[in-house]
Symmetry: C2
């Protein structure tokens, strides 16, 4: 394989992350003349833009051109055919959270198409899909990177891989993996200010977080813990555990059972105050011990236990001292001993998520050009 | 350049880091059959072991074979000649802290030899050497990585490079970069326990740190701040500042002027109690404001100011809350806003330093094989 002087980029998804990625790609293509980065395909779930002869799409006008395009997106098998016939290496950048696209990674990889993505679905779905993806990558040599699937641009996955590949023994991973739940508990039960201080009622905090745009449109999609469970599934697998799916370990939901069937997110929020006493009790129980409650995920590698839910922490613990909507991930390993390797910072947002995707793209480029 | 099925490794230095690296290399070569990792050269400052026909040295017996070898180490130009004639790609692993070896990197790189190292000297010496190294790498395509030159195995340099290369704007870098000074101040002026609590006299803390093996043989080599200044020089340059040398910005030394010329480390420690009142005063001044004092390095990218020395921090600040001999590095960037990306953990020690070297080696291997 000769070093490529040109690399084709196929972008799927043009939402918040997709738009930020395109602007980072534009900057990258200006800064690094070699290899030439040629945008050969861009699509949303409704539209696409591409040319049968792979003529590059101007990156700085890709979004407006896509908006006025009348082309339909190609289904994964057709997209794989189209891209595999390109006259240079191709990197598929999946900026969606689509299961359908994720399911196509083994196909893309078998056809020699590299994949970089923040999409958690492929790596936290069935273990069969996980194995299929990495088997396809090993067979064809095509690369697959997904740094932003956990902690957005924070170097979480690359660090875990480095620990494992250099022969360290990861014993435990623990952290706050949801920006939304970080924000909620840092406000609801702040570590600073002493017992009883700070924090409105739980339902008021959830409503505020939604108004600030920190939650999904229906806050239950954050409160059910599934997003955190997906991230834990990915890290556990990288640490060597054959976790079958995010449903194969205990995940505590913060949705009161009575509100699981509420017709809408708004209906849920309207009725949530009825259950404030429950969360108040949990908070008070922790405070009585001089602690604060946080929503965390943890992986105990030796006992193969993965769990997601509420835990109590001393006020001086780094997890208790977290601020805003930051994530924190602690790796306990044999080499690092009792003091973990800690990574902390914003774990959500278009720009930082796109940064993880762009740095993954750079990794692929360094290996093929 | 066809993917290499064999890669030669040349190891310089077999001290604490070198020994740990060899055991990680042994594990790596067993786990990853491709490419074959062949140890072609190993040397200390006094001895070497190599064969004119590049016959691989058994990694698991390399240290004992080296101990009984009668070969002299090759001077850098001869070493470059020897390695450049090898029938496969070569990675030079410099596990020394030798300026002479560091000065040879441009030569190695120009000859197509890849370099990975924890040696700070090359990257924190003259700016001319820095430019020479990266110019040589760009010209030949040979790779150079030095993750462990700052924060040992912590992903500090790779993260800073990712931020810069993906187009983020790093505005400020701040942190505790010395495990020794971290340990000293975490003990001398602990954040927990309230005003006046904890902490023996400064001289007693230094003596204890030396007894525990946390300092250099002469503790003044830690207290002069130069090691921190070297690390700041590296990070500032990666952030885009043309820092001429570690001597071109203010570095506060914790060595009392009167003891700079003490004949030995022991003599220094014997007389240090005479100056305890000075450190006690600095600690009390911070405590009077509800703060603690820490020895930090900071880089303000916009104003191009780099400084190393004592600063006061609120007790709830992550820098104040550090424990043991951990390092902490905070990256403030445009994307991450007011909440920095933080990396924390052990920043010294043979195993974790070697881990950074081994992960650098893996990066090189992924690009050439």
């Amino acid at each position: 394989m000769a070093p490529a002087s040109q690399v084709f980029i196929a972008v799927i998804g043009a939402g918040g992350v997709g738009k930020c990625f395109l602007s980072q790609l534009e900057l990258l293509s200006k800064r690094r003349p070699t290899p030439t980065l040629a945008l050969a395909y861009i699509a949303t779930s409704k539209k696409a833009l591409y040319s049968g002869d792979y003529a590059p799409i101007a990156i700085d006008h890709a979004l407006s051109a896509l908006a006025s395009s009348t082309q339909q997106p190609l289904a994964p098998p057709q997209l794989a055919d189209f891209l595999a016939a390109a006259p240079a290496p191709v990197v598929v950048v999946d900026n969606t959270s689509s299961q359908e696209v994720a399911d196509a990674y083994p196909l893309f990889l078998r056809r020699g198409l590299h994949v970089v993505t923040p999409n958690k679905k492929a790596f936290s779905g069935s273990y069969a899909l996980w194995r299929d993806i990495f088997a396809a990558s090993a067979a064809s040599g095509a690369k697959v990177y997904h740094e932003s699937s956990v902690g957005a641009g924070l170097p979480v996955i690359s660090t875990l891989k480095d620990l494992v590949e250099t022969g360290d023994e990861v014993t435990r991973i623990e952290g706050v993996f949801s920006g939304t739940l970080s924000f909620l508990f840092n406000s609801f039960a702040p570590a600073a200010g002493g017992g009883g201080g700070g924090g409105s009622k739980w339902s008021a905090e959830v409503t505020k977080a939604k108004e600030l745009g920190y939650t999904e449109p229906d806050p239950r999609d954050d409160l059910n813990g599934l997003d955190v469970a997906r991230k834990l599934t990915i890290l556990a697998r990288l640490a060597g555990l054959a976790v079958e799916s995010p449903a194969s370990f205990p995940v505590q939901s913060l949705i009161p059972r009575e509100l699981e069937s509420a017709a809408s997110g708004d209906e849920f929020l309207r009725r949530l105050p009825e259950f404030d006493a429950q969360m108040e009790e949990i908070k008070a129980a922790a405070e009585a011990k001089g602690k604060v409650v946080r929503f965390v995920g943890s992986i105990d590698v030796a006992t193969k236990q993965v769990r997601v839910g509420l835990e109590e922490f001393d006020r001086s613990h780094p997890i208790a001292a977290l601020q805003g909507s930051d994530n924190i991930i602690s790796f306990y390993t044999k080499r690092y001993g009792s003091h973990p390797l800690i990574i902390q910072g914003a774990g959500a947002g278009g720009e930082v998520t796109a940064m993880g995707v762009t740095s993954d793209l750079l990794k692929v480029l360094s290996q093929i050009s």
